[in-house]
């Protein structure tokens, strides 16, 4: 066993060395995209030359990301507990949750910079980047608590609070930690995205934007590597903590009792009321926030102002046409990218069980694509793939698959040993075990992963459109920023949120009957 691990480590180390050498050769000979991919040695040399520049930038980014991480996750765990314990609150909060998740960071970053000053926009975007992942994994963890433990506590007269403290929080811990480990790179990205929007002299994002125009790919890569390193370290820390807890939480046997609890048997009027509430609350919050902050009406469009812009003004017709045309370009690619990203994540999750060695080697690469700011990667990707739809698909897959993969792999790794022993005893191959036990047993996680991936796909398409192809909603957003067409910025942001919500609801519609038929409960 030990020798196997060492051998696997040795082989993945070898893979890395080979990759590094190929990279060095390509960089030296300027084989890829005529120098857009510099050699590792020249990136390192450049890092050394620039070494005095980095500390203030890194510290500034860390500050924004760190404070945002704390605030965002604090709110997320509290909200997750609330939603898990009170299904009605979950129903009411759904609109806000999905809206926060689908909120395109690139769209609100300029708006935030105009409204707030200093660190605040970075903290807000970092916090928003953390919120949904951590909130939904908290809910998943709590609602998947072994029913038998809850029964023991209830048999001794323990109420909701005792159940939460003694069983649910502890058994949700691995899920929360796996949420935090996605949230950590998200916080770094959120901070950097806010830095792109302007404001402040320091931050890796500021540094990157400043270096973008100077045709120095080695410096861009250096900044990218620094950002990657920070995000990767944050990810690694939470992975280690999670590893420590997952083993002790794995149930020894499979619970035979069906997951009970409150089945959704609310009367129709209440369900309608809650659905209406979940739609109204985010709109009300949007309105209230703008009033509370006193942003000038020119910049900040209230729902009413947006309606006026899209339907009542003389150039409303033109605005509508622009929006619809952009939508027509964005939608098909989003659906395709979504499907590919999820399929890729699922394949990877299966691989993590079938061939853990390969995944160990691949994970760092995956992490790099997650944490390396797309702005730094995009020039290279454009030169390799051109400015066509295939570029959009690649970028979309790369932003979609990672969170989906982590959630799916988590579900697969939570399958109890005893459940796998039965097929194993009949000589089932690993693949058969996956098909018969692991995949069905982790279905709630697979669906949760899909729901997680869906809005990200739209975000990926929009980022690619903004940065590279100059088409669709992403481009419209960018153009409107240039024309100071705030109405259109708001319109695009709202339309993209609505689209995300529609996609999300589609998954829920499939998920519910599938899980109900198997006597499972959805992992919120």
């Amino acid at each position: 066993m030990a020798t196997e691990t060492i051998a696997a480590r040795g082989s993945s180390l070898r893979t890395w060395l080979v990759l590094l050498i190929i990279w060095e050769i390509c960089g030296r000979l300027q084989l890829i995209a005529s120098g857009a991919l510099p050699a590792p040695s020249s990136i390192l040399m450049r890092l050394w030359i620039d070494r005095a520049d980095y500390p203030p930038h890194i510290l500034a980014t860390l500050e924004g990301a760190g404070v945002g991480f704390l605030i965002g996750n604090g709110i997320a765990v509290a909200a997750g507990v609330l939603f898990a314990l009170f299904p009605m609150a979950a129903r009411l909060g759904r609109g806000v949750n999905i809206a926060l998740f689908a909120l395109p960071a690139i769209a609100i970053s300029p708006l935030l910079v105009l409204t707030f000053s200093d660190m605040t926009p970075r903290i807000i975007l970092a916090a928003i980047g953390c919120y949904f992942v951590t909130m939904s994994s908290t809910v998943t963890g709590i609602s998947q608590t072994d029913q038998r433990m809850i029964e023991v506590i209830r048999a001794y007269g323990g109420g909701r609070w005792k159940i939460l403290v003694l069983a649910q929080m502890r058994s949700a811990l691995p899920a929360i930690l796996s949420g935090l480990r996605i949230a950590a790179p998200n916080a770094v990205l959120g901070s950097i995205l806010a830095e792109f929007g302007g404001g402040g002299r320091y931050g890796l994002g500021v540094y990157l934007i400043g270096s973008l125009g100077r045709a120095e790919p080695d410096r861009l890569w250096g900044i990218g590597l620094a950002a990657t390193l920070i995000a990767g370290l944050a990810y690694a820390v939470f992975s280690l903590i999670a590893l420590r807890f997952t083993g002790a939480t794995k149930a020894v046997t499979v619970p035979a009792t069906a997951p009970g609890g409150a089945t959704m048997s609310w009367p129709l009027w209440l369900r309608l009321l809650l659905s209406t509430g979940s739609v109204v609350i985010p709109i009300a919050l949007w309105w209230l926030l703008l009033i509370a902050m006193g942003t000038p009406a020119m910049i900040a469009k209230t729902p009413l102002g947006l309606f006026e812009y899209l339907f009542l003004q003389p150039n409303s017709q033109a605005s509508q046409m622009k929006l619809l045309a952009a939508l027509g370009q964005t939608l098909p690619l989003t659906i395709a990218g979504m499907a590919l990203g999820i399929a890729f994540a699922f394949g990877l999750a299966l691989m993590s069980v079938l061939r853990p060695g390969i995944i160990r080697g691949f994970m760092p690469v995956a992490l790099v694509t997650q944490t390396m700011p797309l702005v730094a990667l995009t020039p290279l990707l454009v030169l390799i793939l051109g400015r066509g739809p295939s570029l959009i698909l690649w970028i979309t897959i790369s932003v979609t698959f990672f969170p989906a993969f982590v959630t799916m792999a988590q579900g697969l790794s939570m399958v109890p040993r005893a459940a796998l022993d039965v097929p194993r005893a009949y000589g089932a191959s690993l693949f058969t075990q996956l098909r018969l036990v692991s995949v069905p047993a982790s279905l709630p996680y697979l669906f949760a992963a899909t729901r997680l991936a869906v809005p990200r796909a739209l975000l990926g398409v929009m980022i690619a459109e903004w940065l590279a192809t100059g088409t669709g909603l992403g481009n419209l957003l960018n153009q409107s920023r240039g024309y100071l067409d705030y109405g259109m910025i708001w319109a695009v942001a709202v339309v993209s949120v609505l689209l995300s919500v529609v996609f999300y609801q589609c998954v829920v519609l499939i998920e519910r009957p599938v899980l109900a038929r198997r006597g499972m409960r959805a992992a919120q």
Binding site: A167, A248, V252
Partner: protein, 256 residues
């Protein structure tokens, strides 16, 4: 005659709806366990034994009829710390050590663990797990886990004890040992005990009375008194009277 710590079920019915069918798990079941008595509940799978137990524990509500524990509603009795329970499935928390799992009811009831440290240690000794105090459930065998669950059921000095096939996972030898031990504990504590079991020998050995259940719909068809003297030693298992009682229960299970 419900004494201060008796178990009483009065014409209790409970049905379950699932996938288009309705199962009458319990149909007008009445059962009276006087304070300090030991009642065994025996019957084929699916006859409603576990449902009955869940109602008595307050984990489930009856459609009709009344359940009271020592004159209280089941949940109130549980909150007062009067009850103890060991489930068929050990249902231990995988992240808690043996000690901590045994102390769980104290944590739920908000009783300080310090005052009960000696009690916990003696329970660990009693179920033969000395030396495993700090072990996690994942490191124990099935039988050991079950013994932890039994120790846990006794930690509150319960006046009313519910045992849901607690020795189902143990081997026959250990099971007999545990039966003798349980009798000893029970004679010392005189807790009103309701034991759900599949083992006829276990029921005869331990109980004052054996209630035989039948399914479809779930109901109690006979109550057989066990007039064996206490304390019953291991030699009771081979006595003629013991075998006669076993045969009588087997007959009742077959509908005679």
């Amino acid at each position: 005659m419900t004494g201060p710590s008796g178990i009483r079920l009065d014409t209790v019915s409970r049905s379950f709806k699932g996938r288009g069918t309705t199962v009458q798990a319990l149909d007008n079941v009445s059962l009276d366990c006087p304070a300090g008595s030991f009642t065994a509940l025996i019957g084929p799978s699916g006859c409603g034994k576990s449902t009955l137990l869940r109602l008595a524990l307050g984990l489930d509500q009856a459609d009709s009829g009344e359940v009271s524990i020592a004159g209280l509603a089941p949940m109130d009795a549980a909150r007062a710390g009067m009850t103890g329970v060991a489930f068929q499935d050990a249902a231990l928390m995988p992240w808690r050590s043996v000690e901590d799992n045994i102390a769980l009811p104290l944590d739920v009831l908000g009783q300080p663990r310090r005052d009960n440290a000696a009690k916990i240690a003696s329970l660990i000794d009693l179920v033969g797990l000395a030396g495993f105090e700090k072990a996690l459930p994942g490191e124990l065998s099935g039988g050991m886990r079950q013994r932890v669950a039994i120790a846990r059921s006794l930690v509150t000095n319960p006046q009313v004890l519910f045992l849901d096939e607690p020795f189902g996972a143990l081997d026959q030898i250990l099971r007999r040992q545990m039966n003798v031990e349980l009798q000893r504990i029970w004679i010392a504590s005189r807790a009103t005990t309701l034991l759900v079991t599949h083992g006829i020998d276990e029921a005869v050995f331990l109980a004052d009375r054996v209630a035989v259940m039948q399914s479809k719909p779930g109901r109690i068809t006979r109550i057989i008194d066990i007039p064996l003297m206490r304390p019953r030693g291991p030699d009771v298992f081979t006595s003629a009277e013991f075998h006669r009682l076993e045969d009588e229960i087997a007959g009742a299970l077959n509908g005679h």
